[in-house]
Amino acid sequence: MTIATRQLRLAAGGRTLVQDLDWQVQAGECWSIIGRNGAGKSTLMRTLAGLRPPDGGDIEIDGRPLAAWPPDELARRRAYLAQSRHDAFAYSVIETVLSARHPYHGGRYWEGSDDHAAALQALAAMEVDRLAARDVRTLSGGERQRVAIAALLAQDTPLLLLDEPANALDLAHQVQVMGLLARLCRAQGKTVVMIGHDLTLAHGISSHALLLMGDGRWHAGPVADSMRPALLSDYLGHPIETIDHGGRRIFIPLEAQHD
């Protein structure tokens, strides 16, 4: 799956967040979107997911304008993880994950055994298979997030859009989810675009990064170019240093002076 934006403009509350974004995402790439709070990361993600129209410019998915995709066909090509969710009804975990198989059902009233196999596999991949019969409203924040990611996996799409996948996860599961996403990119050629605030984790799995300033400015490129400390410090509004340790790059925000 490829994404291409041309002259994309995003605005919120009368403020231009992103201006003239010309951005190409190729299949098998893993992009991190980085920026301060309110820089337009989630707005960009929601626009890519088709949940809001762009304020200017065009988006193409696989060379076809986003608005021209039939919703059900697009749902088999791209999955979206929302930043937060509110569960009003007592659906069970397995029902939540099975619902992500909806795009494959066509006219069927009940799911088939292939859907159940996909759902159980996704639950096992996120280590929440033992919660299958639980009411989603009784889960902890981190468990609920893992169930949501399991639903995303069950949707089985070549393009994954994730708004803060590491949100509410404990350290072990943050590392596990990032490893899983990296494998999906490298081994299965899936395209991942995600938002994250942990630069070290993002650097560990991303091939590319898109930095948003929040006033229209942006910077896109491979991590070697776009995740330079000086550039990140500028975009995040805080001085950042890096250390290379055991083949990994660790990003450290400089401490504020306590006086």
């Binding site: 088709g50 697009l74 969710r85 009003a88 009804f89 659906y91 397995i94 992500a100 799911e111």
Partner: protein, 345 residues
């Protein structure tokens, strides 16, 4: 909490649905039989087949057959009204993503009351009262749609973005209540009783008509066809769009179909309360929130429940007949409180 449901397997899911719906269908038929046999003159089960045959042939010659025809007409009206209110409740709850929403919360029934009470105040014929009730319900629905158009569209509103619709409904509802209070305070003594009974909801003298059945049938077909999409809307809110759901069209459909159902039910029987709230809630509690089971279960459960309530209403202090709305409220309020308490524990 809900009783732990076993992990569903592909074939057990549909078999379970058939069992639940079949069981409720039998219960609904039983409620109709009870309604037919109970009253000032009790009918024995042995007399029923012959009398039923006469009624169906259109020649109720015996006393038993005449009684059965009267009671069956009223019971069937109760059934279609209860089924419509429960289905409207399920759809409104999915639309607003709130299990405590009610088909009346948006003021559609209050609008119908304004129309009906105005017609009663002017001493119009029964048909005019029905037409005025329908007109009131339609007028409020149109106003709601006009004010809350933005909420109906998918994708644009934020998560849970139906608050505009809900608030508009609450305000319209209280505006209607103000008009109702005004009309009640200027109504002459003689008309007050019929006006109050209309507001509480009463099935006495409600004729058996084909239209409510057609409305309920069409709404049921729409609801069953949208059942899977309703599950996803209830689960994922606007993110349902990323699973291929046309959220805007679904929200509009749910709004219009539940408005028509409410208008149809309120027009034939007045503003009977609590059915649209407790029946979906009880069905969800017993069978889970999956709309593919919930929709037929709520229709059958709501219909059967109102038939039993109406039987109670016309027999409990016979020969005085109580308005059925008083019975549903008396049963509904404590049942609802109990469910709510269990749910929050």
């Amino acid at each position: 909490m809900h009783p732990a449901r076993p992990r569903p397997r592909p074939h057990s899911l549909s078999r379970r649905a058939v069992l639940i719906v079949g069981g409720l269908l039998l219960a609904a038929i039983a409620s109709l039989l009870v309604a037919g046999m109970t009253g000032s003159i009790a009918l024995a089960p042995a007399e029923l087949p012959a009398a039923l045959g006469q009624v169906l042939r259109g020649q109720p010659d015996s006393l038993v057959a005449t009684l059965l025809e009267l009671r069956a007409g009223r019971a069937l009206t109760a059934f279609v009204t209860g089924g419509a209110l429960a289905l409207a409740g399920v759809m409104m709850q999915a639309l607003l993503r709130n299990p405590l929403a009610d088909p009346y919360v948006l003021g559609i029934s209050a609008g119908a009351s304004v129309g009906a009470l105005l017609a009663l105040l002017l001493a119009c014929a029964a048909a005019t009262v029905d037409a005025a009730a329908l007109g009131g319900a339609v007028a409020v629905s149109m106003l709601l749609f006009l004010f809350a158009r933005r909420d109906m569209r998918g994708g644009v509103a934020a998560e849970g973005g139906t608050s505009m619709l809900l608030l508009t409904g609450v305000i319209l509802s209280s505006a209607c209540m103000a008009m109702i209070t005004l009309m009640l305070s200027i109504a002459p003594e003689g008309r007050l009783r019929s006006m109050v009974f209309w507001m509480i909801g009463d099935l006495a003298g409600a004729p058996l008509r084909p239209l409510p059945w057609i409305v309920l049938g069409a709404a049921l077909v729409y609801a069953l066809r949208s059942a899977r999409a309703m599950n996803i809307l209830a689960l994922h809110a606007e993110a349902a769009a990323t699973l291929g759901i046309r959220v805007g069209a679904l929200r509009k459909g749910l709004f219009f179909v539940s408005a028509v159902l409410t208008a149809s039910a309120v027009t034939s029987a007045g503003a009977i309360g609590f059915i649209g709230l407790i029946i979906p809630h009880a069905c969800r509690f017993a069978f889970g929130p999956d709309h593919r089971v919930l929709i037929p279960a709520a229709v059958l459960g709501g219909g059967g429940f109102l038939v039993l309530c109406d039987t109670l209403a016309r027999t409990v202090v016979a020969p005085t007949q109580l308005p059925v709305g008083a019975i549903t409220a008396l049963i509904g309020a404590p049942v609802f409180l109990y469910q709510l308490h269990r749910l929050r524990k």
